[in-house]
Assembly symmetry: C2
Homo-oligomer: 346 residues x 2
């Protein structure tokens, strides 16, 4: 199709602000590609929940499924009980649409300052599993609110689920110059899940003998992220460890205002979803203070996924050029978006 | 008793090297306190397991129980399958002796260089729950090694277990100048466990109204640990999040060569255990390269626990003075230990 049908879930807080700029960047990047853009807005998030009690209905999901991709801003608001929108909307999308590869690049652009004294060159990607682990919602509690309450959370890991994401991570590692894959888990404590991950990585390595594999416990991985982040090329890890490592990685490469992510369904049985790693940031919402760059970089991942690597490269180059001249300047969300779109348009 | 009965579990790798220096520091610190030291070595770890297949027998445990405290070096060796010694020895000690407060201070000593460009003043403690959460060993797998394998790990959290550690953390926060407590969890995803933690912190706060409470998701906490570590005073968190955060915190305050920990049974129904946060580091074992400072600082925590705060302060002051003059000097494990003991002796 020459037309890209994009589902837009701007969501809550700064979500609407950054998505607006992301769409400008996308329009600019599509110029000359022969592709046109059609967007459909989905009213999902805190407003909708307050108005109707709904998070994501079957109809919403069916409608979203007909699109080529999803651009998501941010979900979550303090007025909604914790977990309602996260589980009922964001994670429901990731699980229902089988986004088993949650891809989160961490790259330190020249000109961007890291909180590390001596960051070195940082350019790695985290392949976070997206449909299993402690995120499955398989928990429960008894005697809630009494001194005898017991609250459990179950991490579910399957050979099917681990193998497919591990294979994806190997393929990504094989396509990169350094061809290195680091498995992060905690197999000395979470022995059942951990050993499944470890055996799977060993087995799939046979299909990618050119890829060098190493292993780090999650605690040790956080140490290396601040003492030697250059050592990482591709990290593969479970849903929860990936959540933690990618926020830390985002901070290390200059802040989550720059951290992009792609929730990918590699089998293309449903649309993939592109979103900044940051949240809805209610404290700065509506003030034009949010940095739309993470969303714009997520648009680059979207373009790549839709088979437009040149357009994706243009977007990334625009960001690289913009951040090089940032230091000391204060711009609004819209100003940053306009500058980025102008650079993309070239 | 004027005599301190100390169980010594030197363990594997650099464990023996650092424990030797820790004991020298302890002897030096006890001079003039009227207390004498009697140590009993327990042959536990990789050697014992290879020789007998045992990790920690009922007899070992019963013998250890009769002591006033335990000094532990490090457990783990690549020749032993992952999980065997961790679960069968280290975690078994923590669980059997009800070490529900895993205390891990993070302090940036003047003169120590942090990987952060602008660390600021860092002085906080992590109160990590030690007997519940994903560490309970409540996991299992079916169809292991087949494409239909399912491996689960259960995080178990009880009102009893959460409340006692939260109360301990509040008491510690109340005794510190800033009186601030940060709960770290992930209650937007792990809703059952997370809400138990959250409700418990709210409830216990009523007993400590002078303590200011805030909350961070674990992913956000890792960001602040590298962008604004000064914001933390006391962190209370579950077993797994505490494991991750304290390795990161150790790195931020200059490396886990300096990170001490105490596995405390506050009810004193069994001996508490003091150990460096680092592991057995087989790559540098036997070479005199290990830094014994983390063990010496763990000895300070031990002295505090045994009601000898002045002796503890002496040990900490010796470390503070030593690290101030470290830069550029290379000393062996024994040299650092000798220098620290000399400073403690005064
Ligand atoms: C909002 C939350 C459910 C989500 C997650 O934990 O995955 C977020 O932290 C992220 O990383 O996208
Ligand atoms: C060795 C391992 C079981 C242990 C843990 O995870 O608690 C270690 O990492 C620690 O932090 O003391």
């Amino acid at each position: 199709a020459q037309q890209i049908d994009l589902a837009v879930v701007a969501g809550d807080g700064i979500g609407t602000e950054v998505v607006e700029q992301g769409l400008l960047a996308l329009e600019a990047a599509l110029t000359g590609t022969g592709r046109t853009l059609r967007t459909t807005d989905f009213d999902l998030g805190a407003r909708r929940w307050h108005a109707t009690g709904e998070t994501l209905t079957d109809d919403d999901l069916a409608a979203i499924r007909t699109h080529d991709a999803i651009l998501l801003g941010a979900i979550g608001d303090p007025s909604v009980p914790s977990g309602v929108l996260e589980r009922g909307l964001l994670l429901k999308l990731r699980f229902a649409l089988d986004h088993y590869v949650n891809l989160r690049p961490a790259k330190l652009f020249p000109g961007v300052s890291s909180p590390l004294a001596d960051p070195g060159e940082i350019d790695f990607v985290v392949v976070r599993e997206g449909t299993e682990g402690p995120y499955v919602g398989n928990g429960g509690a008894i005697r809630v609110g009494t001194p005898h309450e017991v609250a459990n959370e179950v991490s579910v890991n399957t050979a099917f689920g681990v193998e497919r994401v591990v294979r994806d991570a190997f393929a990504r590692a094989a396509a990169r110059p350094r061809q290195k894959l680091t498995l992060v888990h905690k197999h000395n404590v979470l022995v059942h899940a951990g050993h499944l991950w470890r055996r799977t990585v060993e087995a799939v390595n046979a299909e990618f003998p050119q890829v060098t594999v190493d292993y780090l416990h999650v605690d040790a991985a956080t140490i290396f992220l601040v003492t030697d982040p250059s050592r990482f090329d591709v990290i593969v890890t479970d849903n929860l460890f990936g959540d933690i490592l990618t926020d830390l990685a985002g901070a290390v490469v200059g802040g989550i205002g720059l951290a992009a992510s792609a929730n990918i369904n590699p089998d293309r049985t449903a649309p993939s979803m592109f979103e900044p790693v940051h949240g809805s940031a209610p404290d700065i919402a509506g003030q034009g203070k949010a940095d739309p760059t993470a969303t714009v970089l997520s648009v680059a991942l979207l373009l790549d996924h839709l088979g437009l690597p040149d357009a994706a490269a243009k977007v990334e180059a625009a960001v690289a050029a913009d951040v090089l001249e940032r230091s000391g300047r204060v711009r609004t969300t819209a100003e940053v978006g306009k500058d980025l779109a102008a650079r993309i348009a070239g």
